[in-house]
């Protein structure tokens, strides 16, 4: 089966962004996922976020591992460069790519199997290095593509379609990321585009590793009664901790007319992320408090959502490595090769 292109009908009245592009331009080829799969809604949110941020398509690099979730980069931004790699290893590819070209905008798409089992090591180390990227973890509690085995994010007591119950404690990517020192941690629900889109926009603007863990029900293998990652369960137990609004740099003045009790965090490029606490006293810039709150809700069987934590001025990979501001791929060869005289001088020491 080859991939299917979408019919390219352009509606004359479609809204255009600053680049003169419509949201259709930010789409990809037709999804081949199951109808109703949570991943497709995330794809739609990604498309909208990139469109609203006026991102030039070819300056985006989209990467993924293997899984149903990892197939989705084909379904958005068809004019961006993409890399569908191998199972669990997308973080290392993104790290190397980012090391070589720091000027592109990176989005990595992964699943809970891809990130929390086979790729757990790479996931953690990309966080440690604070690789400047948006990391979408499309979390359905199962391995979709291999037909429904439990993943490491399955909750205790969650039932598989065939009936068996998971008894091992889950790996929660959000709390893991917090303990690893992640500089941006958010959680959302694929069915809540209103919450998800501003989070994606903030994550794309954040300099550093931005984890967005999205509960994304697998309608085929994990949407039944007894599953804790089903649409019904997530709708019922999702608990928005903070409401997030992303304000790009140029719109700031208008947006200041917003409602009262908000916290504003200024990003490295001057854009602003606003939080309105739903839970009283929640401070998304306090790592320990965020962690504690997450655990507290978890104990009650609730899933904290929203932009849970942000540290806007952290050091990223390039700051750690002290690399030049210019992307390494653009440094001319003459600046890289020391030449014959230096070689002779060096060798005069090797006697």
């Amino acid at each position: 089966m080859t991939q299917t292109a979408k019919p390219s009908v352009r509606h004359p009245r479609l809204k255009r962004n600053k680049l003169g592009l419509t949201q259709r331009d930010y789409e990809g080829s037709q999804s081949t996922l199951c109808a109703g799969c949570g991943h497709d809604s995330i794809t739609a949110a990604i498309t909208q976020a990139f469109f609203e941020l006026d991102m030039p398509l070819h300056r985006v690099a989209k990467l993924s591992g293997i899984g149903c979730s990892s197939k989705t980069p084909t379904y958005f931004l068809s004019e961006a460069h993409g890399f569908n790699s191998v199972h669990g290893r997308m973080p290392s590819i993104a790290t190397g790519a980012n090391a070589a070209n720091r000027d592109l905008s990176y989005i990595g798409v992964s699943g809970d199997g891809d990130s929390l089992s086979i790729g757990l090591g790479q996931f953690c180390h990309a966080i440690r290095r604070n690789v400047n990227m948006l990391y979408m973890l499309e979390n359905n509690g199962v391995y979709g593509l291999t037909k429904g085995q439990f993943s490491a994010s399955a909750d205790v007591g969650s039932r598989a379609k065939r009936g068996e119950e998971n008894r091992m404690s889950p790996i929660d990517p959000a709390s893991l990321a917090l303990t690893l020192g992640a500089s941006f941690v958010a959680r959302s629900f694929s069915g809540d585009k209103k919450q998800l889109v501003p989070i994606i926009k903030a994550a794309l603007t954040h300099r550093g590793f931005a984890l967005v863990d999205v509960i994304s029900p697998c309608v085929t293998f994990n949407d039944h009664e007894g599953s804790t990652k089903s649409y019904a369960h997530t709708r019922e137990h999702g608990h928005e901790v903070v409401e997030t609004d992303f304000v790009p740099i140029l719109h700031e003045i208008q947006a200041q007319q917003d409602h009262g009790s908000t916290t504003a965090v200024t990003m490295h490029d001057g854009s602003v992320v606003r939080f309105r606490s739903v839970d009283e006293g929640y401070d998304p810039t306090d790592r320990d408090a965020a962690y504690a709150h997450l655990k507290e809700l978890q104990a009650k069987g609730e899933v904290a959502t929203g932009l849970l934590f942000i540290e806007p001025t952290s050091m990223d990979l390039h700051a750690f490595e002290n690399t030049v501001d210019q992307p390494l791929v653009d440094v001319p060869f003459e600046k890289l090769c020391p030449g014959s005289e230096v070689l002779a001088e060096l060798q005069s020491r090797w006697r």
């Binding site: 398509l57 993409g82 790519a97 090391a99 030049v324 014959s340």
Partner: protein, 613 residues
């Protein structure tokens, strides 16, 4: 080798043709003392090699250093020891037994040597090194360190190494640390003076200055390969520490710290990432290569094993990458600090499914430099991983090498990389379309132009880069990649061939076996056995390799692994019949010696050794 084949001067003293072996305990600082000894001989203009035989351990286990001096330039390992510097009582017995009759032993006479260890056919020089160091230095650490320097002084006296040469080296090394220089100078004199005062020069071996090293330098293969990466313009390196590859990245880092700072900002014009494992290291290299950077990873066998899945991805998605495989013994952890050529099978066809990779086999540090540069050119030209397979002996030991040269007119071969203008001028861009008929499609780099965008993938794709599960479309791409890789055979550095009149037998080898095999050819020529020589430098094999094999009645393949991996690859990949091939194998983990080759060839040819006359 037969002692009597060596040139003798007056009174049975052999000049510039002998082996000194130093037996010590690792972690005591002896490695740098031994290096000094070798360096001093090098500075006297005499051909010399040094082989470090060390345990996989940080402190407390036996370690040896073998120095071979040979005025004819034969510098392969020679296990025939003339002078043993026995500094480790735990290995006295074995060390003393290794000395050839008529040879000599230096030992620490601070404690009496067990009567049973003395041999009548060997000279013993006892020097109370520990006592002298206790008297002259303070603190355990300094006493231990200075004992090494003191035996260097004693050996210098006994072999007539110019003391000024050693003092000069100490000055260069410790110019910034006066107190270290002082102690070193004292220690050198302790050993030197003791030896001069107590022994008339009775040693059957000695050094005499020559002028053979004027155009040479001392370097390790890992240093040279790292420098090759700098000169080739590599900007991204990722790695996970593993002996014997670690020093390659260490060297790259220190060269870059000196040579790769942006003059204006002082920031780095390179990025070295210590990965969490080799899976990540190769992933980073692929990410960077995909972006258009020259990227590499140094590793050894266990790392290669971990990289396998990604290597298939790189092959199939056609991403350039350079992998340095500094080989050590396997399988598994094997003997991690011993040398071998055991990774051929693994790297030639690394990963599942049909793959075949471009390999290069440098024979010495000089070639590590040139091959490193070439590897980046080939990786980008053929858009595929290229392996530079050296080994522990080449990578970690100091070799005397011809000075490296650099042509300032060198321009990197970036292969078919499309610029924004190229892309704009095209009707449509298809990543895997073979426009030129050479199996190499053009590639676009991310971020350059919207027209160049495509999805790189390890899953089935057609020549247009589109996902497919159609067997014909899949096969079309696989066949094209096979053609592309075959095309690399003639682009690799040519093999080294040496022909003599009338020879019908060829000795075939690769990599670090070169020296031992060439020496064996000379020794056998003295016995009237003429042999042609072929050194394979790359894979896939070029036609010159096949022609050589076909034109000889017998080809004896000399290599350092159990399974005759090179021989079997030749059988698989050339038209040579099995009946024309045999092998000489040594996989004990030490650098190859001519002795083994000579014995093996005599055996394969059914010859009786010539009696030493």
């Amino acid at each position: 080798m037969d002692r009597d084949s060596r040139d003798r001067t007056d009174d049975f003293v052999v000049t510039n043709d002998f082996v000194v072996k130093v037996a010590t305990v690792n972690g005591t600082g002896s490695a740098s003392a031994n290096g000094m000894l070798m360096q001093a001989i090098f500075r006297m203009g005499i051909p010399v090699s040094g082989k470090n035989v060390f345990p996989s351990n940080i402190q407390g286990l036996p370690t040896w250093y073998e120095i071979r001096v040979n005025k004819h330039g034969h510098l392969a390992r020679n296990p025939d020891v003339d002078l043993m510097v026995a500094m480790n009582p735990k290995t006295y017995e074995q060390d003393i037994a290794e000395v050839r009759p008529g040879g000599a032993v230096i030992y620490d006479s601070s404690w009496p040597l067990d009567e049973e260890l003395f041999r009548k056919d060997v000279l013993f020089f006892g020097i109370p090194l520990s006592h002298m160091c206790v008297e002259n230095f303070k603190g355990d650490r300094e006493r231990i360190l200075m004992k090494n320097i003191a035996y260097v002084g004693a050996v210098a006296a006994l072999l007539s190494i110019d003391l000024e040469v050693i003092k000069g080296m100490l000055e260069e090394k410790f110019s910034a640390k006066q107190h270290l220089m002082d102690s070193n100078n004292v220690a050198i004199r302790l050993g030197y003076d003791y030896a001069t005062e107590h022994f008339d020069c009775l040693l059957p071996i000695r050094l005499e200055a020559m002028d053979a090293n004027r155009d040479s330098v001392l370097m390790t293969g890992n240093m040279a390969a790292a420098l090759g990466c700098v000169y080739a313009g590599a900007t991204v390196g990722a790695w996970y520490p593993i002996t014997p590859a670690t020093s390659l990245m260490d060297a790259f880092r220190s060269f870059c710290a000196e040579l790769r700072k942006d003059p204006e900002t002082g920031k780095n014009l390179y990025c070295v990432i210590q990965a969490e494992d080799e899976l990540a290291a190769i992933g980073m290299v692929l990410g960077a290569g995909w972006m258009g950077a020259r990227a590499f990873t140094p590793t050894s066998g266990p790392g290669i094993s971990l990289m396998n899945e990604m290597l298939g991805l790189a092959y199939y998605a056609e991403i350039p990458a350079v992998i340095f495989d500094v080989q050590r013994t396997g399988p598994s952890t094997g003997m991690p600090t011993r040398t071998q050529q055991g990774d051929l099978f693994t790297i030639a066809f690394a990963s599942h499914g049909d793959t075949k990779h471009i390999l290069m086999f440098p024979a010495d540090p000089g070639e590590c430099f040139y091959f490193a540069v070439k590897a980046f050119d080939l990786a980008e030209r053929f858009q595929t991983p290229v392996f530079v397979a050296s080994d522990l002996d080449i990578g970690m030991n100091d070799w005397v090498c011809k000075k490296l040269e650099w042509d300032d007119a060198y321009v990197p071969d970036r292969g078919k990389v499309l610029s924004a203008e190229d892309l704009q001028g095209m009707d449509a861009f298809y990543r895997y379309l073979d426009v030129d008929g050479d199996g190499i499609p053009a590639r676009s780099l991310p971020g350059v132009d919207p027209k160049g965008a495509y999805l790189t993938r390890g899953s089935g794709h057609d020549r247009f880069g589109r996902y497919t599960e159609d067997g014909d479309l899949y096969q079309d791409v696989m066949d094209r990649i096979a053609r592309k890789i075959e095309g690399a055979a003639e682009a690799l550095p040519p093999p080294e061939v040496r022909l003599v009149d009338g020879a019908t037998v060829g000795l075939v080898t690769m990599g670090g076996c070169r020296g031992a095999v060439l020496e064996a050819i000379e020794l056998l020529a003295d016995e009237g056995i003429t042999l042609d020589f072929l050194r394979v430098t790359g894979f896939p094999f070029c036609t010159a390799v096949e022609e050589f094999l076909l034109s000889h009645d017998v080809n004896i393949v000399v290599e350092q692994n159990r399974d005759a991996q090179l021989m079997r690859l030749l059988l698989l990949e050339t038209a040579v019949p099995k009946s024309k091939l045999s092998s000489v194998l040594d996989y004990r983990g030490a650098p190859l010696s001519a002795e083994v080759v000579v014995g093996g060839v005599r055996d394969r040819l059914g010859l009786v050794p010539v009696e030493a006359g």
